[in-house]
């Protein structure tokens, strides 16, 4: 099992002044697995992502990415270097596409570093020398692959801002995948999607895990997504880990139920409501 680990978070603490957003958090995410991080609002989930992807420098702790070429310490890497060379890619809670550019351009920008190198930092590219032309057509092939995968091939030349909301979500995932990451961090990818779209999202994420072999870290409130596709669930509350395990174990963990629903006060609830809460944790 140990050689299967992809991300190791050890004693991660993040303080903003007096506020402790994450308190001594340790967990592990494995290769070819979808690891979900859930928890009530304000539990510190997005802060974990921001630490992982270099937007914040953690106050304490160690973040190790076990990429193919050996372990890397993410907390010591400059933010914009983290996605490079099979690093960590991410999507955002509020979609951040390049809305004025076309769908295809969004995917090509994501392959910036490879193309930049091929164009000899623009010097060779200026005169369209051989290597760059080849690299660009490869980049277009990669983009086409992901366009087909997320079902946006027909809309490739649209402005990204003109896509419907669900397609924008999928495009953001495709864009992150175009950086060729070994870990993909998804910040609430199912937010605002209708049931059919979230079912499609499940298929997409499973395919990213199984076909591309990329590990996913997933923040999500939509339990239909979390429980169906994750291999491993971590529950945060007030910056602390309160549960860690496979979906079924977490679902029935009393600490988790308490965090989401407050202290159990069965006698004050009408019996049918109490029964619903116990039988169907997906309901909320």
């Amino acid at each position: 099992m140990t050689d299967n680990k992809l991300l190791e978070v050890e004693h991660l603490t993040m303080r903003f002044g007096g506020l402790v957003a994450i308190d001594d958090l340790s967990f592990m995410a494995n290769k070819r697995e979808i690891t979900a991080i859930i928890g009530p609002n304000g539990a510190g989930k997005t802060t974990v992502f921001n630490c992982l992807t270099g937007f914040y420098v953690p106050t304490e702790g160690r973040l190790t990415l076990h990429a193919d070429d050996g372990p890397r310490l993410l907390e010591r890497t400059e933010g914009f270097r983290i996605p490079r060379n099979k690093g960590v890619a991410r999507t955002f809670q509020n979609i951040r596409l390049f809305t004025g550019m076309t769908v295809l351009e969004n995917l090509i920008v994501a392959q910036h570093n490879r193309l930049m190198e091929a164009s000899a930092f623009s010097l060779a590219g200026l005169f369209n020398l051989g290597r760059y032309a080849k690299a660009e057509s490869e980049a277009i092939e990669t983009a086409k692959f992901w366009l087909n995968k997320v079902g946006l091939y027909e809309q490739a030349d649209w402005h990204a801002g003109n896509l419907p909301y669900g397609s924008q979500r999928r495009l953001e995932i495709a864009r992150a995948m175009c950086t060729d990451p070994s870990l993909l961090c998804l910040d609430e990818p199912a937010a605002g999607l209708n049931p059919r779209e979230s079912a499609e999202l499940n298929v997409l994420l499973q395919s990213i895990r199984d076909d591309q072999g990329v590990g996913c870290l997933l923040i999500e409130h939509d339990m239909s997504v979390v429980m169906q596709i994750s291999d491993h669930v971590i529950v945060l509350d007030y910056g602390k880990k309160i549960a860690d395990g496979d979906p079924d174990a977490v679902k029935n963990d009393p600490a988790v139920i308490r965090a989401y629903l407050g202290e159990e006060e069965d006698d004050e609830l009408p019996p049918e409501v109490a029964a619903d809460l116990h039988l169907d944790p997906n309901a909320h």
Partner: protein, 506 residues
Amino acid sequence: MASAFASSRTNGPEVVKELAFFAVIALMMSVMILGVETVDRPTGLELAVRWDLVLLAIGSTVVGRLGLIFRRENISRLGQAILITVSAVAVFEMFVRFRDMDDRWASPVFLDMAFSSVVSVIVSIAFLAIIFAAAYFSMKDKTAVEVDESAKLSSKIQLMYRSNTKKIGLIGIIFFIIFPFIFGEDRSAIDLATLVMIYIMLGWGLNIVVGLAGLLDLGYVAFYAVGAYSYALLSQNFDLSFWLCLPLAGIFAASFGIVLGFPVLRLRGDYLAIVTLGFGEIIRVVLINWYDLTGGPDGISSIERPSFFGMAEFSRRVPEGSIGFGELFGMDYSSMHRLIFLYYLILALALVTNFVTMRLRKLPIGRAWEALREDEIACRSLGINPTNTKLSAFAIGAMFGGFAGAFFATRQGFISPESFTFLESAVILAIVVLGGMGSQIGVVLAAIVMIGFPEMFRELAEYRMLIFGAGIVAIMLWRPRGLLSFRDPTILLNMSQKEKVAGEMK
């Protein structure tokens, strides 16, 4: 009157109220500016009142407003046209009086300026006819069909422009190349064209920074100054030729861009604009005060003119050991040769700027600039180094500014800090914004409008500024994002440019 409004939303008293409201506004706006005038009398400064001007201002406002109400309420098109014409004539009369205010006391005028001779009569009748026709035909009945048709026409023009940008650009280049053959003997035309071309080049250079990378730079003229002084100083102190100094000037300007960029590019938006503005001023102040090196406010004079690629000289008295340009091509000496050569030189430099920009846009660096303009955080999450990307935009923009500066120095033969004030930065930025951020052809149009027109209409003296102001207001109203504010994709997968544009129009 009341019956005319009976069927519509607005009734008589409301119209009177609206007109009164605009009359009061016109009164407030005109009373201080038009209504009083300081007159220098032997007894000292005195205030003279000009109620006729104020009345004309109020009258034209009220009549014009009435025309707009007629238009809104769909009352007789002829009535609308007459009212708007009357209003325009009143405005014209106001200008005539305003211009003649000094002799006004001798003979009160009522359009007598315009009617003083037969030619003037014809001109003024034509003027009235044009206003009337324009007013009449622009008043359309606001039926859905017609609105649709005008929208269709504008989208047709857009489609034509956007699917033929290459052809339009080519026609423009050919026009500028044959320009000296048309106006070859007209010195002022060549001078003006050269001036416009300098600003086109500066506009294209700044377009990289502002239009593509989205970094608001209010101190672009600093790089222009660095280029100009680099050439002037290198040529005077080390006797280097223009052709060697041209690349050096670009390199110096780019280095200044990098030096400035490192500390300030972590700032964004307004803060970046303020710091670049400060940098522009620092350069100017240093140029004024470093007397030993730059000559301070005296500037640097008799800067060497460029030779014909080192092969021939353009001056009348050719120095020992070299030959004149005319001699080289078997022509008589003409002072126009150098001017036309300089024109072609700046044309070539500008075209190089354009070519490099167009090419960079399709390269990863150009796409990264545009992505950075759209969303910096997303760029970071994709592994793009924001600092380096911004710096490269800044440096390349600065480099072209430096080239233009070296050219400016060699063309003028004299430079001083006077030429590099904030106003220049503002003009260049205005060209970029007016043209439509990121649009190359837009910059050309804007440079012609901003630099060419004021020079061409010099006779109009201070009215130029008035017309200029009106033009800016018109742009803000109808094309708030610039003349040609379309972004064309750098790459298309399964559509042609024409289909893409047509799809957007739908």
